[in-house]
Assembly symmetry: C2
Homo-oligomer: 229 residues x 2
């Protein structure tokens, strides 16, 4: 059954052979992050997200956490027994030229990622909505300021890719206007503003009910760490 | 046995009744983040970290991931059955005035956190070392720029607490000098530079083998979101 499901993954979900999604080759409003599929790896990762969240909420005294620890360790043992050398895995996870599935913001295979889903629009913006839960808490009931910076750095990178010219983060100036609440829908957006030679300036923000909570200006340099081969 | 182990947690590990650790009341070189204990919740969270990491590395074709997904969902169901209302949990997790155990950078109860351990020194700096793995990857083999920003925002907050005057992040200016490698020991540090009325300026950096990879300047405002009661 696992093999059946693996075969059912459309090629464009695998990240392999997918050309870079840009405004030039993709209709406005298209999802440009890796979509979550109904594959076993995506289901296992989503279940791991539920575990992360529930561990922060469950009753410390009566949830039999010693048994839970043993069960999670047994699952980790099993997964590690089936893991190859890290260097081979790095080559595999970066294969192809398209979007990847493992990053800590949008990656459906990364349980650290909420994951954020972004669409690209023909005004050069990328936009998405996300509600964050307790693992992402900073001040009581609010999103951690560093988590907002993490999301925005990634969104600026996706906005650059969408505009067709991207690179490495050189500077990130983040301004915090008001706390972003947990559990509520936040609007996240980014847009490439201008480029000059190898320099790229990109802006973004996180809003709640139309009010800006966090805004960012990023400077990127059009160079890349090569994908491992 | 779970109750036995719960009773074995020293009071200073519970976050309850712990006075704020500052230079004024704590010897130099003291760990000022929440220490990982050998309690069931910390063990379960550490095991969840192993699962997150192994899910990104395991072989997608032969690790029986459909069964792993079902097992993780069953664990999440169990934990959620033993979770009370979120608002009650928020009050509980913020009880006392000391450090908390749940944040996404240093929190031993948060599987999203590496977790980073920081010590406070009498030159006003806070410092720690951490090696990050695949869940925190940005460019191939390197730490995600947003993850560096997340760590540094949190480190600046801890540096402020250590200096005895802290607050909410207002601005964060992050500069990326060179990629920070995954899997290798990174030195992370922060220090409060000066204060003026309610404004607090704090700097920090992430280094590898003595070379600065990422530096940050933060402006904080001495106000707080109240702890829920």
């Amino acid at each position: 059954m696992a093999a059946e499901e693996a075969r059912a993954v459309p090629a464009e979900h695998s990240g392999k052979g997918l050309s870079h999604a840009t405004m030039a080759n993709t209709p406005s409003g298209t999802v440009i992050t890796s979509p979550r599929g109904d594959t076993p790896i995506d289901q296992a990762t989503e279940a791991a997200r539920r575990v992360i969240d529930a561990l922060l909420r469950t009753n410390r005294d009566d949830a039999n956490l010693a048994r839970v620890a043993a069960e999670l360790d047994a699952i980790a043992d099993h997964l590690e027994e089936h893991a190859g050398p890290v260097q081979e895995r790095l080559v595999d996870m970066w294969s192809g030229e398209g979007v990847t599935r493992h990053d800590p913001v949008t990656g459906p295979e990364n349980a650290v990622a909420p994951p954020l889903v972004l669409r690209g629009y023909d005004d050069a913006s990328v936009r998405g909505e996300v509600a964050l839960t307790i693992p992402y808490q900073g001040p009581p009931g609010c999103v951690h300021g560093g988590v907002s910076a993490l999301l925005l750095d990634h969104v600026l990178g996706v906005a650059n890719a969408w505009s067709g010219k991207d690179g490495m983060t050189a500077q990130l100036n983040v301004r915090y206007h008001r706390p972003a609440p947990l559990f509520e829908t936040l609007e996240v957006s980014g847009r490439q503003e201008r480029t000059e030679g190898r320099k790229i300036w990109t802006t973004g923000q996180i809003s709640h009910n139309g009010e800006v909570c966090v805004s960012v200006e990023g400077l990127f340099i059009n160079k890349k760490v090569p994908r491992p081969t």
